[in-house]
């Protein structure tokens, strides 16, 4: 099967979308961008490929019109099993890397003790892993570093204490190893992991019969050929793609928004470090754009900073701001001043929710200015980027768009984080067809 890949190398996360010849999205993948772009792209692409396999599995089952609820349950179990396999594979890698780090003067006395402790930590991690991927388990993140890291640190402390070893020795080997493991391109065959996962869920003792196996195997037999790839990323000097495979992220966002909502004429994207206002024509071709200049005030990072200052999670800001009855009047979106402004207002007795609501409004006011400079808001209007997930930001946007431009359809897609990658995948599909820059030559 021919597939077309779009990759959006963002400042915080890297996203990949895999598309088929009929413009259908097969899979999406996301990973943290790290400092190694090449690995980030490979991981995101592999994640999209994994997701694509599940799409193919569903297609196989659909074709057979099997019991829908049972299929969903089975595929959920399969996905958890697959993620577990993937996690264990990376744990093995982390363990081996940690052991290699046990060398030098520092470990002269305790080398054996450290190695034994490491074996114990990883034994416990493997046991915990099965629980982490059990049905209904809540994982705080899908990134290996986050899941493995927090548990490693907790377990290492216990094990070190019991063994009478200095905790910092175990911390040291971990610190040296995690970056290496994270930056290593994904190894191991995907089909092996799928097969092991199938054995876990559709094996002899499983609740699912082995008749679930054959559709999966048929889907796994479909070869996913990477026909063309288009990458995009914020003005980077080096992207791990050759020139003909690079499209501007503004164009990718414009086209991606058009793919999601074909009537889109204006796009607002608020990402980690930039805010873009884009005008597109009926074909998703960019007519005009504006973006913030050197300063990232009012972008996603600003919210992250506010969350840190308030000792809250990023996803908690929106819901708290929604509780405000009297938003504070805040004009500056300067990240440098934000901390001082926040503390001042708290000291004056203003409510946290009111301050937050004021901050959200300030961010959207800045976005409105960028939008107006790009040519205003036309119907339909699509809002993308991480901030589009924030309900308080969306509420302010709706209000201000209505006040300034009247009744406009506002689209927000739950997968809006993939907009750039989706545009990239469509550019890839068109390029493979020999079409110039996305329009028939």
């Amino acid at each position: 099967m021919k597939t077309f890949v779009g990759i959006d190398l963002g400042s915080t996360t890297t996203k990949a979308v895999l598309m088929d010849e009929n413009e259908m999205i097969l899979g999406r993948g996301i990973t943290n961008s790290r400092s190694n772009y090449e690995t980030a792209c490979r991981v995101a692409t592999q994640e999209a490929t994994v997701d694509a396999r599940f799409t193919l599995f569903r297609r196989e089952f659909d074709a057979k019109a099997a019991d829908a609820a049972k299929v969903t349950e089975f595929l959920d179990a399969l996905e958890r099993a697959f993620r577990l396999e993937q996690f264990i594979e990376q744990l093995d890698d982390l363990e081996a890397t940690c052991i290699e780090q046990v060398k030098g003067d520092r470990f002269e006395k305790d080398a054996d003790g450290v190695k034994q402790s490491l074996a114990e930590v990883f034994r416990r991690l493997r046991i915990e892993a099965v629980e982490m991927y059990a049905p209904g388990a809540d994982r705080k993140s899908d990134f290996f570093r986050d899941i493995a890291g927090s548990r490693y640190l907790a377990l290492a402390e216990e094990v070190a204490r019991d063994a009478g070893l200095p905790y910092d020795l175990l911390l040291n080997v971990y610190d040296k190893s995690i970056i290496a493991v994270e930056n290593r391109p994904p190894s191991g065959s995907l089909s092996d992991k799928f097969n092991r996962a199938i054995d876990r869920v559709a094996g002899k003792d499983s609740e699912f019969g082995s008749d679930m196996k054959s559709p999966i195997e048929r889907a796994l037999d479909i070869e996913l050929e990477e026909t063309y790839l288009v990458g995009t990323g914020y003005g980077r000097v080096t992207l791990p793609f050759s020139k003909e495979h690079i499209r501007s992220e503004i164009l990718c966002h414009g086209l991606g928004a058009h793919m999601m909502y074909p009537k889109t004429r204006t796009v607002l994207d608020i990402g980690g470090q930039d805010t873009k206002g884009i005008q597109v024509d009926a074909n998703g071709i960019v007519d005009n754009f504006q973006m913030n200049d050197r300063c990232a005030a009012g972008c996603g990072r600003y919210l992250g900073y506010i969350a840190d200052e308030m000792n809250m999670g990023l996803h908690e800001l929106g819901p708290l701001a929604m509780k405000s009855g009297k938003p504070a009047r805040i004009n500056s979106t300067c990240t440098v001043f934000a901390g001082a402004e926040l503390r001042d207002r708290l000291a004056l007795g203003e409510k946290r929710e009111d301050i937050l609501a004021g901050l959200h409004r300030a961010i959207i006011l800045r976005a409105m200015s960028i939008l107006s400079r790009s040519g205003g808001v036309a119907d339909e209007f699509t809002f993308t980027g991480g901030v589009a997930k924030n309900e308080a930001a969306v509420r302010e946007l709706r209000k201000l768009v209505y006040e300034n431009y009247g009744e406009v359809t506002i689209n927000i897609n739950p997968d809006s984080i993939y907009t750039g990658a989706l545009g990239g995948a469509e550019f890839a599909r068109r390029a493979a067809e020999g079409r110039v820059e996305g329009v028939a030559a």
Binding site: G235, S248, L251, A441
Partner: protein, 437 residues
């Protein structure tokens, strides 16, 4: 001093012969300035827009241009420290960075690009008043040097035309204020025939300059009318207009351009001749000087040539027929001052840019908006919209600064420029599809 690692150096750039010649001329001029205390030459500080070099030369004075000094500091990687020095002395972050670079340079010993101390001016001649900052700048310089200051008020071309009253008003100022002060400072009596001769020389060089800038109408263009154009305007916008040196330089440059035209070659970039001309752009606004080469590279790497720019008209607009006229010596100086690009009303600027896009068959307009230059930036978005509407060609906005390195974000500029060029490409293929259908 060594250049910091990774900083683009102008030293190892490939230059064509005219660029080398221009560099030598500029170096010679700085030597004239820094040796003025030995030669006894009087120094007149003035600005590029509306500079009256022909008149200044009538009094054997040497022309010193603070903006050019700031540009030199920017190109040499020194302006960042100068700007911060000025800020330490109380100049806010939003003040024009030419001013701050100049003030900071003075605070640090006023060392010119040749490593020698720049002279104290004997007089200040402010002949362009369209920029409010210039007034303030010269106030600061007057405070510093306590020398005679002359203020030649140039009326803004708000109605899009030059009226006889405007000329009379300026000629009166020249006769009653400017020339008497220059006589007094220099001790040289004004000789109108000497002025006529200088103006005659100016017009000769101006003819060649126009020929050179208009050579960009060819495909491929043999010149880059923005990045290369900045070299080309150096002598005529500075201390050489009205001299035989300028005539020789522009003749030499013209021959060089003719040779490239004959061979069908594109412009010479710091990395050698440009290969394929993929995009033809018109650029509005000044360039960034702290990262000049990196900025230029973003264009030529993508195959983008600038075929016309407004910046190369700030020291005089010649392409619509104006030449210095020796038969109307004072009137022609007035017209010259009135005609500079930044003294033109916004509708006039729009007309010019639309004309460039059409005449030079450009793909669109790119605006480089300067963070610390309100005088240039005001109205640019409106200009952009209007030009887009009237030409149907795409336009885009990038933001940098003149000589403050803190306001140059390579990733941001590259992102916008590449997006713009790909947008042009898309529009083109869209248009060709329309034609084919």
């Amino acid at each position: 001093m060594n250049q910091p690692a990774g900083k683009p150096s102008l030293r190892d750039a490939i230059k064509d012969a005219s660029m080398q010649k221009q560099k030598d001329m500029m170096a010679g001029h700085f030597d004239r300035l820094t040796s003025s205390h030995e030669t006894g030459a009087k120094v007149c500080s003035t600005f590029v827009p509306g500079n009256l070099n022909e008149l200044i030369m009538c009094f054997d004075m040497v022309n010193n241009l603070p903006e050019v000094n700031a540009i030199q500091s920017g190109l040499r990687g020194k302006s960042g420290a100068y700007v911060m020095e000025a800020e330490r002395n109380g100049h806010s972050e939003d003040v024009c960075t030419y001013v701050k670079s100049d003030i900071g340079m003075m605070a640090r010993g006023n060392i010119g690009p040749n490593g020698k101390e720049m002279p104290k001016p004997d007089m200040l001649l402010l002949s362009y008043t369209g920029c409010f900052t210039f007034l303030k700048w010269f106030e600061l310089l007057r405070e510093q040097y306590k020398c005679p200051t002359v203020f030649l008020q140039t009326p803004y071309m708000a109605d899009g035309k030059i009226t006889p009253n405007m000329i009379q008003y300026m000629v009166k100022q020249l006769k009653e204020d400017v020339i008497p002060t220059m006589e007094k400072v220099s001790g040289v009596k004004f000789d109108i025939d000497r002025l006529r001769e200088n103006l005659r020389q100016s017009a000769k060089a101006e003819d060649d300059l126009v020929y050179i800038l208009q050579s960009a109408k060819n495909k491929p263009s043999p010149i880059d009318a923005y990045f290369g154009g900045i070299y080309y305007i150096g002598p005529i916008f500075g201390a050489f207009r009205g001299t035989q040196d300028a005539i020789d330089y522009y003749r030499f440059l013209r021959e060089e351009v003719d040779e490239r035209l004959k061979l069908g070659l594109g412009p010479v970039t710091p990395e050698g001749p440009m290969e394929e001309e993929k995009y033809r752009l018109v650029v509005e606004g000044p360039p960034n000087y702290t990262h000049f080469r990196q900025f230029w590279k973003m264009f030529y790497e993508e195959g983008a040539t600038v075929v016309a720019s407004s910046y190369t008209k700030v020291g005089g607009t010649y392409d619509f027929g104006f030449r210095h006229d020796p038969d109307r010596p004072l009137e022609t100086l007035a017209e010259y001052c009135l005609n500079v690009y930044t003294n033109r009303s916004l509708p006039m600027r729009i007309d010019m840019l639309v004309n460039y896009i059409n005449e030079y068959e450009a793909d669109g307009l790119l605006v480089n908006s300067i963070k610390s230059c309100n005088s240039f930036s005001a109205g640019q978005l409106m200009i952009m919209r209007e030009v887009e509407k009237r030409t149907g060609k795409p336009a885009a906005f990038i933001e940098t600064d003149l000589v403050d390195p803190r306001y140059f974000s390579a990733a941001n500029v590259k992102n916008r420029l590449e997006s713009y060029l790909q947008m042009v490409e898309q529009k083109r293929s869209g248009a060709s599809k329309g034609v084919a259908a």
